[in-house]
C-alpha cells in the first residue's frame, strides 16, 4: 500500500507543481538553517574529551592580596608559579600538569625557510598521557627531563612537514630562540575543539611545539596568554618564582570523579598552609572544575551561537506552519478525489495514511534540499570572520539528524491536513460533482 500511496503522492505533486515546490523550498530553508546553526553549536558546546572529561580538573587557588577583595568572588583563574611548582612537587593526584602558552621564534636548519613565530606550550611530562595526545613518531619526555631542564621538544606533524618534509625527525634538532632542542616526539594532527586546557590563547591557536616548563623558565623564555599581577614585584620579572603574578594553568587527572571532594579538601589544606606561612592573604577560595564545568565557566559557547540556534528553530517553526497551511490547501483541493476513494471502500485510516505519506515525501525532498542548503550554510560559516570558523565541519550523526528532522517535522506538519482529509464526508463530495 505504501508504494501506491507514494505513487499517488508523486502524481499530486505533478498536478500541483507550484504549491509542492513552495512547500519543499520552505521546508528546505528551515531545515538548512537549523542544521547549520546546530553544527556550529555542536562544535563549540561539545565535550572535547568525552571519555575522560569527568576525571580531568582545572585547579584555581586564590593567591591574591586583600586589595579589592570581595568575599564570594571567583578566585584568580590561573596559578602563580610558586603554587604550581609546589603542587607539582607534592604529586597528590594521579597525574598533574602545569603549563603556559607562548609564541616562540623557530629558526629552521635550511636557510631557504625564513625564521617564523610559532604558537608553543610549556608543559610537564604528564601532559601527553593526561590529554591523550596521539603520537606519530617517538613519545613525550619523561619526569627526568623535567627535573634536569632538558632541551627536548615535541612538535606537531604540521610543523614537522614544514621543517623536515614530514619524515621521522625524532633525534634531530630544531632551533628555538637560538637554542637547540632535540626532538623526542612528533604528534599526529590533534586539535581538541575547543582548546579547553588553555582558553586564553584564542580559539584557533593550537600549539605547534611543546617544551618542558622548567627548561623554558631556565632559559627565561617569554609567555603568552593572560597574566594577573597584584602587589609589588620588588623589581623581579613577572615570571620569577616569587612574583605575585598568576599565569600558569594547572590541571589534574584523578582516578575517578568521586575523588574530587578529597582533592578539593587537599587544595583547601594547601591554601591554609600558605596563609599560616604568610604568603596568602585571602581566605581559602579554591575551585576544582571538570572539563565541562570549566568550559561553561569560560563561556566557551559564545552567546551569539546560542541565539542563532534559537533563531533558526523559530524560522523552522514558521516554515512548518507554512507547510501545514499549504498541505491543508493541497489536500482539501482534492476533496472530490477523496470522496471517490472513500466511496470505493477506502477507510478513514487509508486516507489518513495516504496523506501522511504525501507529507513524508515532501519531508524527504525538503530534507535533501535542506542538506544542500546546510552544506552551503556551513561553507559560508567557514568563510565568515568568526573565530571558530575553521573548526566547523558536518559529521555523519548530524547528517542523519538532518534527514530525521526533516521527516519528523513534515510528518508532524502533515497530521492536521491528513486528519482533515480523512474526515471528508464522501456523500457531500460526490453530490457536488
Amino acid at each position: 500500500m505504501l508504494a501506491y500511496y507514494f505513487d499517488l503522492a508523486l502524481r499530486s505533486f505533478k498536478s500541483a507543481r507550484a504549491l509542492s515546490l513552495l512547500m519543499i523550498l520552505a521546508l528546505g530553508l528551515g531545515i538548512g538553517a537549523c542544521m547549520t546553526t546546530l553544527t556550529v553549536y555542536k562544535v563549540l558546546a561539545g565535550d572535547p574529551i568525552p571519555h575522560k572529561s569527568d576525571r580531568l580538573f582545572n585547579v584555581q587557588i586564590d593567591a591574591g592580596n586583600m586589595i579589592g577583595y570581595e568575599s564570594g568572588q571567583e578566585p584568580i583563574f590561573q596559578l602563580s608559579r610558586f603554587d604550581a611548582e609546589a603542587l607539582m612537587r607534592a604529586r597528590h593526584a594521579k597525574r598533574q600538569v602545569m603549563m603556559s602558552g607562548a609564541n616562540v621564534p623557530v629558526q629552521p636548519e635550511s636557510t631557504s625557510i625564513k625564521p617564523f613565530f610559532s604558537v608553543a606550550r610549556y608543559a610537564t611530562t604528564d601532559f601527553f598521557a593526561m590529554f591523550d595526545a596521539p603520537f606519530l613518531y617517538g613519545s613525550g619526555w619523561d619526569a627526568q627531563a623535567d627535573a634536569s631542564e632538558a632541551r627536548v621538544a615535541v612538535i606537531t606533524s604540521e610543523l614537522n612537514e614544514k621543517l623536515f618534509g614530514g619524515e621521522n625527525s625524532v633525534g634531530r634538532e630544531v632551533q628555538i630562540r637560538s637554542v637547540a632542542f632535540r626532538i623526542v616526539g612528533v604528534l599526529k594532527a590533534w586539535k581538541p575543539v575547543p582548546h579547553f586546557y588553555d582558553m586564553t590563547m584564542g580559539m584557533t591557536e593550537y600549539e605547534q611545539v611543546l617544551l618542558p616548563f622548567s627548561t623554558a623558565m631556565g632559559l627565561k623564555f617569554g609567555t603568552s596568554g593572560n597574566m594577573d599581577c597584584w602587589g609589588s614585584s620588588n623589581g623581579q620579572g613577572p615570571r620569577e618564582m616569587n612574583s605575585p603574578c598568576a599565569w600558569v594553568q594547572y590541571w589534574v587527572e584523578l582516578e575517578s570523579a568521586d575523588q574530587a571532594p578529597a582533592f578539593f579538601d587537599y587544595l583547601v589544606q594547601y591554601s591554609e598552609e600558605q596563609r599560616r606561612a604568610g604568603r596568602f592573604e585571602r581566605p581559602s577560595n579554591v575551585r576544582l572544575r571538570n572539563v565541562v564545568d570549566w568550559l561553561t565557566f569560560q563561556k566557551a559557547l559564545p552567546s551569539d551561537v546560542r541565539l542563532q540556534v534559537w533563531l533558526a528553530f523559530g524560522f523552522l517553526l514558521v516554515c512548518l506552519t507554512n507547510t501545514v497551511g499549504l498541505l491543508l490547501a493541497k489536500c482539501l483541493r482534492r476533496s472530490g478525489e477523496i470522496g471517490v476513494r472513500r466511496a470505493l471502500g477506502a477507510t478513514k485510516r487509508d486516507v489518513f495514511a495516504q496523506f501522511l505519506v504525501e507529507a513524508g515525501t515532501i519531508g524527504v525532498a525538503g530534507g535533501a534540499l535542506g542538506l544542500v542548503l546546510a552544506a552551503l550554510g556551513l561553507w559560508l560559516v567557514q568563510h565568515s570572520p568568526a573565530e571558530y570558523a575553521p573548526l566547523v565541519r558536518m559529521d555523519w550523526p548530524l547528517l542523519s539528524l538532518t534527514l530525521l528532522l526533516a521527516l519528523a517535522s513534515s510528518l508532524i506538519a502533515g497530521l492536521l491536513p491528513a486528519w482533515r482529509a480523512a474526515n471528508v464526508t464522501p456523500a457531500q463530495q460526490l453530490k457536488t460533482q
Partner: protein, 406 residues
C-alpha cells in the same frame, strides 16, 4: 464594507484562517526582535575609539633571541621611522585599540588604602605618544621630555615612581567629581603616587565592549618608554600613504637588526574591521533571516489565498453576476487579508514583547523599544496586502458565468 460576510466565510475555513494568523503572529514577533538586535549591533559597530583611525598604522616586531639592547634598538627604529617621508609622528605603545594586548590596573585616590578602586586600562607611551594617537587634551598638558622613563629601568627598581600620569575624562570625572584633577595624585601603577598633568577627551579600552576589565571606560597614560618586545609601533601618516609607510618602516626595522621578525603590519581601519567582523556578520544574518521569514510568509499567504479563490469560484461568480465590479471583488479579498493580518499582528506584538523579555534575561539585551512594534506591524500589513494581490486579481478576473459552472 462587507465585513460580516467575510467573517462568516472565514468561520467556515477556521483551520486555514488560524494557520495564516499563527504564521503572521510568529513572523511579526521574530521580525520585531530581529530588527532590534540589528540596531543594537549597528550601535556597537559605530563605536568611536577617539583615534584618527584612517591615519594610523600598527607594526608589530618580535625578537628571536639576539643580544642587542632592545631600548637602543627601539630608539633607533623610531628615529628612522620618524624621518620617513609622509610620517607625521611615531611612537611605541604597549597596547593598541583592537589589538592583541591589554594591560589593566586598579586606580584610586591616595586618600586612604580603602578608598574605592576603579579598573583602568593602562597605556604606556613614549615621546610623541599623544600626537601619534591623536588624543585631544581638554585640560593640562602633554608629558615633558624629561618626564619619560625607560620601562626596563622601572622594572629593575624595587620601589619605582612614575611621577606623572594623564587620565581620560571619564576617569577624571569619577575620581575628582566637580574639581580639577590637575596637580592631584592618584595611585595606579607602583606603590607611589603619580600626579595628574593632563586630561584627554576620549581614550577607550583596547577591547571595547568585550573585556571583563572594561566596565566604565577608564584609561590612563604613563610616560614609560617601552621596547618592541612589549608593544607595537604606532605610526601616523596621511591615509593615502599608509601602504608606502608600512613597507618603508618594515624595511627600516629589518635593516636595523635582521635577526628580528616583523610579525604584522596593519592599518588601524583594518584592525577595526576585523574586531567587529563578527558583529557585522550577525547583522547580515539577522537581515537575511528577516527577508527569508517575510518571503516564506508571503508564499504561505499566496498559497492559501489561491486555494480560497479556487474554493469560492461559485461565490465570486454569483457576486459578479449580481453586479459586483472587479474592484469590489479585489477589495473583498484585500479586506479579508487585512483582517487576518490584524489579528495575527495583534497576537504577534504580544509575542514580540514576550520574546524580548526572554532575550533580556538570556542575552542581556535592553528591552524592546515600543517603536519597533508599529514598524513590524506596518511591514507585515504591507507584506500581506502585496502577497494577496495576485490571487485577488485572479479572483476579480473570473467571469460571472463561473457561478453556473462548477
Amino acid at each position: 464594507m462587507d465585513i460580516l460576510p467575510i467573517l462568516s466565510t472565514l468561520r467556515r475555513h477556521k483551520t486555514a484562517a488560524s494557520l495564516i494568523v499563527l504564521e503572521i503572529a510568529l513572523t511579526s514577533a521574530i521580525v520585531c526582535n530581529a530588527l532590534h538586535l540589528i540596531s543594537q549591533r549597528i550601535d556597537t559597530l559605530n563605536h568611536d575609539s577617539g583615534l584618527p583611525e584612517s591615519e594610523l598604522v600598527v607594526i608589530g616586531v618580535r625578537g628571536t633571541g639576539g643580544n642587542a639592547d632592545p631600548d637602543e634598538l627601539t630608539t633607533r627604529d623610531l628615529t628612522a621611522i620618524r624621518q620617513l617621508p609622509g610620517v607625521k609622528s611615531a611612537t611605541l605603545v604597549n597596547q593598541v585599540i583592537y589589538g592583541r594586548n591589554s594591560n589593566n590596573t586598579d586606580v584610586r585616590r591616595p586618600a586612604d588604602k580603602n578608598s574605592p578602586r576603579y579598573s583602568s586600562s593602562l597605556y604606556a607611551v613614549g615621546e610623541q605618544g599623544l600626537d601619534s594617537m591623536g588624543l585631544k587634551l581638554v585640560a593640562g598638558r602633554d608629558f615633558k621630555p624629561e618626564e619619560y622613563q625607560l620601562g626596563t629601568e622601572i622594572d629593575k627598581q624595587a620601589d619605582p615612581t612614575v611621577g606623572q600620569v594623564i587620565i581620560n575624562r571619564a576617569l577624571a570625572e569619577k575620581l575628582f567629581p566637580g574639581e580639577s584633577p590637575l596637580g592631584q595624585s592618584i595611585y595606579g601603577y607602583t606603590d607611589n603616587p603619580s600626579v595628574v598633568v593632563g586630561v584627554v577627551e576620549r581614550l577607550t579600552h583596547p577591547y571595547p565592549g568585550k573585556s571583563r576589565h572594561d566596565n566604565e571606560g577608564f584609561s590612563m597614560l604613563l610616560p614609560l618608554r617601552g621596547t618592541f618586545r612589549g608593544g607595537d609601533y604606532l605610526v601616523r601618516t596621511e591615509p593615502a600613504q599608509r601602504d608606502a609607510v608600512m613597507k618603508a618602516a618594515t624595511a627600516v626595522i629589518e635593516r636595523n637588526d635582521p635577526s628580528r621578525i616583523v610579525t604584522n603590519t596593519k592599518t588601524l581601519t583594518d584592525m577595526h574591521a576585523s574586531y567587529y567582523a563578527q558583529d557585522r556578520a550577525m547583522v547580515w544574518l539577522m537581515g537575511g533571516v528577516i527577508v527569508a521569514l517575510m518571503v516564506v510568509t508571503a508564499f504561505g499567504i499566496v498559497g492559501l489565498a489561491s486555494f480560497w479563490v479556487q474554493q469560492r469560484t461559485r461565490m465570486i461568480g454569483t457576486r459578479r453576476a449580481m453586479g459586483a465590479t472587479k474592484g469590489q471583488i479585489l477589495r473583498y479579498f484585500q479586506l479579508e487579508n487585512f483582517l487576518l493580518s490584524t489579528v495575527g499582528i495583534a497576537i504577534g506584538m504580544a509575542g514580540a514583547f514576550g520574546l524580548s523579555l526572554v532575550l533580556m534575561a538570556s542575552y542581556e539585551m535592553p528591552r524592546l523599544p515600543l517603536l519597533y512594534l508599529p514598524i513590524g506591524a506596518l511591514a507585515l500589513w504591507a507584506l500581506g496586502q502585496i502577497a494577496v494581490l495576485a490571487p485577488a486579481r485572479r479572483a476579480a478576473a473570473l467571469p460571472p458565468v463561473a457561478a453556473l459552472r462548477s
